[in-house]
Amino acid sequence: MSVAVEPTRAQKPKPAYVRMRSTRRGVDNPKRSVLLTVLTGVVLIYSLIPLVWLFINSSKTQADLFTSFGLWFSGDFALFTNIGDTLAYDDGIFGRWFLNTVLYVVVGAGGATFLAVLGGYALAKFAFPGKKAVFAVVIGAVAVPGTALAVPTFLMFSEMGLTNTPWSVIIPSLISPFGLYLMWTFASEAIPTELLESARMDGAGEFRTFFQICLPLLGPGIVTVLLFTMVATWNNYFLPLIMLKDPAWYPLTLGLNAWNAQASTAGGEAIFNLVITGSLLTILPLIAAFLLLQRYWQSGLSAGAVKE
């Protein structure tokens, strides 16, 4: 990920991929390796089994769960009853948790992506004093896990009276140092400085340049960051665990954990079937998001990997 614009490009040897294409077994038609196929197959099974397990077991009743083999169907196919029960249990609190999660993702992850795009672009394309310091801070921040900041953040938010409100989850989610770093590298690769110069020459203001010229170029990067922050916010557990006490503001992760904990509470009702069905419902939107945004995700990740 280094050089975007290089004046001496023409004299350089031909890029590697052109040479590879000249052999018959190139990128387009690689030789089949048994070992690789088997390895990939193993990894595939390894990744899919939990999902298969989840699906199979969300079709079982509480009683069947413990008396049948885990990786095959057994007893009545209770998936739809389970889904109905999950949505109806405790006055339909699952729906509320779902909407909460959507709120945290749309505002938190969406906001984090927006800020990362703005910041990354600015860092990539503008020179200003203290840029190196900002770089150091961002790199440092990437290394600090959010979990480590949760307790200090709690104490601070508590002072401000923000705990137990949706803001306590949304505000920390707005910051994504990794997203910022990714946008920064992506923007410096994807937007030729000449393009900016010509835009300025033609009299476009900075905002117009950003929104009309740069934003479309940044598409793949934006989607990548969006997916990263979405997954992080959707699966966020520790921060809301510390911040939220009111089940009405729980995201799905906390809610499912609370349901699961019922089974280990004296006098609590064990509802493993609903926990499992709830988990299945919880991952569906993420799967959908990945399938829909997959193309962008791939091109975003490999951005800058090959010299052009």
Partner: protein, 450 residues
């Protein structure tokens, strides 16, 4: 992720807690001096007045039957509005409570705290001493085990909500199939363990991977008193007679691999209880509710029996689990909160909770005909409450937990638990647990001796 409170966080909280207490002491009325040594005086009239005036209460509890109690209470006192919040079960909630107390905001007016954890909050005075509220007059109201559990030093730091007098739950089908007698002493228990496991290597008498609450309960039953607490002077000694009895008996089960390596409350555990591979379960009387919802397929197969004895013909029992309702020191609604405690744990709330499947802590409820005669469908129509109530009366007195039991329990598996996974004898494991507890207690500023 199980959140365990790290020593550093605890120390931090303790400092912040001290600061918070100093602040609230200035704000609190009732003629307290800044030392806050004398308990607040709140008369029955004050409580009545608070009820009439009404207000908002925040209650942190995970006990499911409280929902109905809160509903009834609000219906009876329309001016009172209660926000019942499940802030996590056990440790999760204690962490949240410590955090809120340290931060000085968001502290609830009422908090559920288990008996084993209560001394920790009592000693730090993070919960109110209820003596001044008239709790001292309730000594005959509650059965002896829970009542002694809410006291620390001179103070009464909560009202008992439920209790867990122990009993032995066993799967009749398994015992009948292999022609084994249900054990009445722990020696017979070891024999039964051998017989069952020999008959079918998949069958174990019980599951146990090291559980601090269970171990301390059995030591309690055996008459051991490993913990002696007098203010900040603490003694930890796992070498007394009762502890030795427990360690020697359990060592046999460990040596011969007669305990299923399955942790309680795990999926495999529920599975084992259902499939008959775990044949017995010695635990608190709150268990029937969990059987009914967690192991529905085995309805009719299980029964309750008195806890096996250390001496033949003995009657001793112990408490396992159970919790109290407390009023955090930072609450400004002491009188109103006490009114709720009184309603839930002494008044009409008790029956409401029994109807919901909870096991009571009041003598009146434990002795009532209706309670004793109720038949458990899950246990094939057995009047199991007779056994539980008997057990509640036979809990040896004088047991106390450490004022840092939450931490001590969290390191049980690293120390005593080694006996379960290696050749370390349980006796040495308990000694290691003792050393770890003493070390931590000393770091926390207690005077700890062996």
């Amino acid at each position: 992720m199980k959140s365990r409170i790290s020593p550093a966080v605890l120390r931090g909280s303790a400092l912040a807690l001290a600061a918070a207490l100093a602040l609230t002491a200035c704000g609190g009325g009732g003629g307290n001096d800044a030392g806050g040594a004398a308990p607040e005086e709140v008369s029955a009239e004050d409580v009545q007045a608070a009820l009439e005036e009404g207000g908002d209460l925040t209650v942190w509890a995970w006990e499911p039957t409280l929902e109905k109690v809160v509903e009834d209470f609000e219906a009876e006192h329309p001016n009172v509005n209660i926000d019942l919040v499940n802030a996590g079960t056990g440790n999760d909630q204690y962490t949240a409570l410590q955090n809120a107390i340290a931060a000085g905001s968001g502290v609830p007016d009422v908090a559920q705290i288990e008996y084993y954890a209560l001394p920790q909050f009592a000693l730090a005075e993070s919960v109110k001493d209820l003596t001044g509220y008239g709790a001292g007059d309730l000594s005959d109201t509650f059965s002896p085990g829970p009542w002694s559990s809410v006291q620390a030093g001179e103070g009464i730091y909560g009202l008992p909500m439920d209790s867990g007098p122990m009993a032995l739950f066993y799967n009749t089908e398994v015992f009948e199939k292999y022609g084994v007698e249900v054990p009445t002493t722990w020696d017979e228990y070891v024999e039964a363990a051998r017989a069952l496991h020999a008959a079918d290597p998949n069958v174990y008498i019980a599951n146990d991977t090291g559980d601090a609450g269970f171990a301390t309960s059995l030591i309690w039953q055996a008459g051991g008193k490993p913990y002696t607490v007098d203010g900040t002077d603490v003694k930890v000694d796992f070498s007394d007679e009762g502890t030795t009895k427990y360690a020697e008996t359990w060592q046999q089960l460990l040596d011969e691999d007669l305990l299923a390596p399955i942790s309680s409350w795990s999926d495999e555990w529920y599975q084992g209880l259902g499939s008959g591979t775990i044949a017995t379960l010695a635990t608190g009387a709150w268990m029937p509710g969990n059987f009914t919802s967690g192991v529905p397929a085995s309805a009719g197969k299980w029964r309750a029996a008195p806890l096996p004895q250390w001496e033949e013909g003995g009657t001793a029992s112990a408490e396992n689990g159970g919790s109290s309702l407390t009023i955090p020191a930072a609450s400004e609604q002491g009188a109103l909160a006490y009114a709720f405690l009184d309603y839930a744990n002494v008044g009409d709330g008790v029956q409401t909770r029994i109807d919901g499947g909870a096991f009571p802590a009041t003598s009146a409820a434990l002795e009532s005909e209706e309670f004793l005669n109720s038949e458990f469908e899950y246990f094939g129509g057995q009047k199991a409450n007779e056994i539980f109530a008997e057990s509640a009366q036979n809990v040896p007195e004088g047991w106390s937990y450490l004022p840092f039991q939450v931490y001590a329990n969290s390191v049980f598996n690293d120390t005593a638990g080694q006996a379960y996974v290696s050749d370390t004898p349980l006796k040495d494991g308990l000694k290691a647990w003792q050393d770890a507890s003493i070390k931590y207690g000393t770091e926390q500023g207690f005077t700890v001796s062996e």
